[in-house]
Subunit: 546 residues, 2 copies
Amino acid sequence: MVRGMMMDTPLNVSAALEYGAEMYPDAAIVSAAIEGGMHRTTFGQMLPRTAQLAHALKALGVKEGDRVATLAWNGYRHLELYYAIGGIGAVCHTINPRLFPEQLVYIVNHAKDRVMFFDINLAPLVAKMRAHWPKDLIYVAMCDAAHKPTGEGLEGVLAYEDLLAGQPTCIAWPTIDENAGVSLCYTSGTTGEPKGALYSQRSVMLHALFTLTSGMPGLRSGQTILPVVPLFHVNAWGLPYTAPIIGLNLIMPGVKLDGPNLYDLLESEKVFSSWGVPTVWMGLLAEIQKRGKKPSALGEVIIGGSAAPRAMIEAFEKMDISVVHGWGMTEMSPVGTLGTLPPKDRDKPIEERIDLKARQGRRMFGVELKIVDEAGKRLPHDGEASGELFVKGPGIISGYYENPEASAKAFDAEGWFGTGDVAKITPDGYLIIVDRTKDLVKSGGEWISSIDVENAALSHPGIAACAVIGVPHPKWQERPLMIAVRASGADPKKEEVLATLEKAIAKWQMPDDVVFVDQLPLTATGKVSKLTLRKQFADHALPDVD
Amino acid sequence: MVRGMMMDTPLNVSAALEYGAEMYPDAAIVSAAIEGGMHRTTFGQMLPRTAQLAHALKALGVKEGDRVATLAWNGYRHLELYYAIGGIGAVCHTINPRLFPEQLVYIVNHAKDRVMFFDINLAPLVAKMRAHWPKDLIYVAMCDAAHKPTGEGLEGVLAYEDLLAGQPTCIAWPTIDENAGVSLCYTSGTTGEPKGALYSQRSVMLHALFTLTSGMPGLRSGQTILPVVPLFHVNAWGLPYTAPIIGLNLIMPGVKLDGPNLYDLLESEKVFSSWGVPTVWMGLLAEIQKRGKKPSALGEVIIGGSAAPRAMIEAFEKMDISVVHGWGMTEMSPVGTLGTLPPKDRDKPIEERIDLKARQGRRMFGVELKIVDEAGKRLPHDGEASGELFVKGPGIISGYYENPEASAKAFDAEGWFGTGDVAKITPDGYLIIVDRTKDLVKSGGEWISSIDVENAALSHPGIAACAVIGVPHPKWQERPLMIAVRASGADPKKEEVLATLEKAIAKWQMPDDVVFVDQLPLTATGKVSKLTLRKQFADHALPDVD
Ligand SMILES: Nc1ncnc2c1ncn2[C@@H]1O[C@H](COP(=O)(O)OP(=O)(O)OP(=O)(O)O)[C@@H](O)[C@H]1O
Ligand SMILES: Nc1ncnc2c1ncn2[C@@H]1O[C@H](COP(=O)(O)OP(=O)(O)OP(=O)(O)O)[C@@H](O)[C@H]1O
Ligand SMILES: [Mg+2]
Ligand SMILES: [Mg+2]
């Protein structure tokens, strides 16, 4: 090999913060503080505090490669932790506070965390879990001394601001091998036990750069973005790393993510773009409808994590909020595809554009996609063939953290990662997620996409949310059952819903029954938990429809 | 080290073309063909031809790491060569056809090129040089059989289209180590012998991604860009790699880069953004003035390679063409800084914005800057202190190709690259290039920035171009001499020019003399050659001004 003669400067996350602090020192970080009120800081002010935090971590004995856990909402201290931990070469293990207790026990012990930072409203959770976590774990409450939580199970907890006090505000960040682990995130646990993805300094920086190739209008200096997507899951879709390198303002919503609170924050902070999962947008759309107008500056929402229903996309687009529908996975850093329209599709009539946006977007640069049949043979990208989706790229895991069993099952012979999703790809590169393999309803020899049936039902204005699952059937193996939530004030009848469906889907895809419930069970990341529904409705007797 | 568990997919240029061809197959590549007329193709059509070319290169015996030379203007075949050569892991050695014959002899022998591709209008140059180049060099004329140049010195030349014919249109690009060399470019030779920079697969891809962080409006899918900057020098500022990953249309201007031709092409192809060195814009501005209107779609020009005079920036901005003034070097891939204004400066009055744009922009992400005094001590970024500029980053060379002497002199103890430029940096991150170290006029104990004096003179409408050099002076060591070109139809007097200067610069900075000439000598990349001027005016007798 003839080696290029270029500096081997590694891609390090510390460079992103240094850049943001120097080039966009006024870029705002506004947080709905857990202590109450709004907290305002800037990337310029964040750097010296992050340096202090880095020194404090070292004083606590944190070494390169050590896991430091965070159990926290979106706020400025959480962002400081990202950079201080990664900056000194340790691993930021973000934990989803909404996981089940047994999952929390599992992952903290599995990750062998050395220090845990937690938001003060999560003190009761910490107190409850502590007995099940490593004895020598150091606990730091993300607050000043005055707000430090006390009581049983909270003995010896340190206060974040006490740690920082007196530490030098400057630091020479060490040069870290770009392949070193920088953050650790476990999957949502939608289909089973959470599994760990250990990102590297290189992978998170490349992922952030790759997202810029999509041309999202929100990703431009001076724009204001509110990530509802949590810092505690998949690095909030990479935004903590993108923001300082292009000069974004970040609005950190803290813990209250319901429609009214979100609306107020979007309005008061003049947010242009907001990122989140579909369930969050349900709440916001209901609030917008109630108030009769959209938050005034809102021009873009990024939707991912589960399928964005067509009706939701339509609602946003018709109020001039551009939807970018993306698809990704914890295992992918997480963005795989993004739904910014290519030039050829931009001037199409609005209904066509909405149809296109109901697809899961197109691969971003740096992510390769293939769909294969059961024998592993590649299927054409013709928009017709569907098969399991495999992915490849520098932002995709090569194995699960300390989990050889799960790792062994996850890759094909070519080394591509199997997503567990079934998909089609159109000739012009749009990804269409048919369903998760585990969520497909296997009826007779055919597969029914639960996503398609849900999408169709949600076009009925009386349905606020719904989920389709397969229930065992003596003749057909499985048949679809719809579990639906009525829109507030509406009282749709089963027959009406079925009539709506009949216009959109084939007869054999029609649910055998529709059951109304008050709310759907959600996973820790706000997705509908079909695992729970399948357990709840395992014995549901389907009416005899045949 | 705890290694992240991410795929080690290398950054390879082939992925960029594959991506563009798949995701933006209709993105246009329009070339002013050397054979005459306009040639139209797309990224979708380019991929199969590039695959054929890659097979053809292998058939010619080209192996990984081999240097393949190009001696060509901006056109679609040159772009195909970039990707075919890099795609198979060979090194694309772009050669500037405007170099002096002795420089051409030097670099082709120094690079040990194995194959040389050349545009047909350069056949006379090839015929002339051939005797001085390696005996076993294979020559390919970039044309079909019908256009193949013949005659003395052109025996055995192959035709590009003949090579492609019959080759498979598909290829499985090999996975190349991302640190392997991918292209080789020699410096402009403004200050001495050209020196080689050997870029890697990684560095060119990172550089392309880094440029996206600047937020230039031209760098968005569907935009049309005309690079006047040549593919034969510093990879046309990275555009060949940026274009397919974000879906740009490229207009390749071929060989005719004078004002009228450029204007016509900008107009007929509805170009939004154009990139080039100041001398090119002189010609375009003169043409715009003549026609009384700007090319209708032109909204942005990127100016770099030498200082963009304030008067030039003003002319563009006042016709609503946004200027991005950048600074870079062959040794930097080449972009170092870019002049997109940060949010805080965007709404300033136009005169202030023009002043800001006369600076050399702000560092792009991935490039670190420092200025140091003679002892190598860092100077503050206060906009006052000036010192030699050093740079660091994954897009910057770690040494010159096969040139240990030059390499030994180029880096400081910390491993940073010394640019040979003297600069200031403002607290808000703007770079101000004072001058090249070699171009500073050393008068008494003081330094005079030739750029400042030139800038001041160019605000006189009667001056089309000018250069300030130091000429030996018995008392002051050196004193500034201005060599100027009159604007067409104007007849400015020396005294008038000096009167204009007096308003802008200090008395001791005033040139001792102004000499009018018909044109300034240019280097091979279109910069004013002060080396030549210093030779020409070595014996110039300054009038006694003291
Ligand atoms: N836009 C989308 N449309 C449809 N499904 C989506 C979309 N975005 C994400 N998904 C689903 O979410 C999955 C990735 O989610 P995540 O990594 O957060 O954990 P999970 O798969 O929900 O949990 P676990 O892997 O632990 O079961 C994808 O594999 C896909 O099934
Ligand atoms: N915007 C700018 N303003 C002032 N000078 C610039 C600007 N952009 C580039 N330059 C000058 O051009 C130099 C880089 O040019 P390039 O690498 O093409 O070769 P060169 O320096 O002209 O030739 P050589 O190194 O062989 O003498 C920079 O070091 C700087 O002096
Ligand atoms: Mg999953
Ligand atoms: Mg130089």
